[in-house]
Symmetry: C2
Subunit: 248 residues, 2 copies
Amino acid sequence: MSLFTAGILIIGDEILSGRTQDTNANFIANNLTSSGIKLEEIRVIQDEKKIIIDSVKYFSKKYNYVFTTGGIGPTHDDITSESIAEAFNKKYETNSEAFNILEKYYPKGDFNISRQRMAKMPSDVDLIYNPMTAAPGFKINNVFVLPGVPKIMEQMFKNILANLDKGKPKKVTTINTDLYESKIAPTLSNIQNQFVECSIGSYPYFNFISKQGGVNIVISSWEMDSLEQVEKEIIEMIKFNGGNYSIV
Amino acid sequence: MSLFTAGILIIGDEILSGRTQDTNANFIANNLTSSGIKLEEIRVIQDEKKIIIDSVKYFSKKYNYVFTTGGIGPTHDDITSESIAEAFNKKYETNSEAFNILEKYYPKGDFNISRQRMAKMPSDVDLIYNPMTAAPGFKINNVFVLPGVPKIMEQMFKNILANLDKGKPKKVTTINTDLYESKIAPTLSNIQNQFVECSIGSYPYFNFISKQGGVNIVISSWEMDSLEQVEKEIIEMIKFNGGNYSIV
């Protein structure tokens, strides 16, 4: 089975300073997982040309698809496009289609030199259209360059995703139990060893107000046709240990 | 001026699958920034031994401080501790202090073999105490190994931070304006060129319901004693362009 892999580069000092809680990675992650594309890495990096260039080159070689967010606006700190041009040894120049889109979008006289900057991209890219605020992103090789504003990014990403080569969606089932993680750990480990084609994750939680805790057991597989057997074994194990369970 | 740098490694398939929205990185980021430690990179990586080892080694060399979250619980998918032992060529063995803490914490007979696993760590570490659920994290060289559950991680992190060598807190001021980003971009770029010791970030937003937008202009510096002059120039520029402003 061919498995498609992906990496995400979040470009932005505002995430590293803590000023902004990133939500773009999680949005993309969820959509990739349900589309049969395995997200293998997320990096949040500084608005620094050399770092952007190195990261884009590395990710582009390593993963089938790369998604970047941030740094394609009109201001001096938006250096993603020129950095990516350099990463792929392309000219950084005005894209005439992007220029036309933006020129049409803005009232006459408002398409100033800063806004024109948003039409500057590496040469020979495919545009990624922006149904909300016009300024397009672009695709170069296997790298999809998106803006950082979540609502706009999300719309553009959905349009990309519709046209990507995808794999079989990952199969996922979550079983919740009120047993503690350490209670189920040994048997869970045995079940994992029995079913090597799936991955069994165990995510404990604890509510400090109700003093009640439990575990979400997540079974997932890119390869198995059905998780039913694994599910059954885990539920039996929970019952055997005197716990309650529910499929989440 | 000595500047302390940091990197964060979020270890967890549940973040990459999109199942969980990470909040640990943002919490740590905010606290580092206000403590004069510059967070330069965040990576979210898979629960894979080789990846954990390589990332920890790389981060440990590159940054003054490294913080990892996730993968130190009692189940088979918790492989952070053994991976980090390998990264530093240390034995992976029962830490007697951790063992004693856990043994005291659990009711007699409940400190089973899975829970005992939480006392296994690289040799020669310093423990990071856990005031909520006993199971400690640890520090090895410049790497601080923390759990993934946010409430627990946050408490443990605060205790670490109190004892770290820190720098001067980063100076930050945010000016909000109702002008569009492209309107202010050229002047902002000039102001940035005048004050190279600070970084001026421009973060546009748009409310799709009220159809009103604007920009948060964030001035920040690790080096300058005061941002007052930069602030003044930006406010003048906003006024000159007919915009409103407020200090956020």
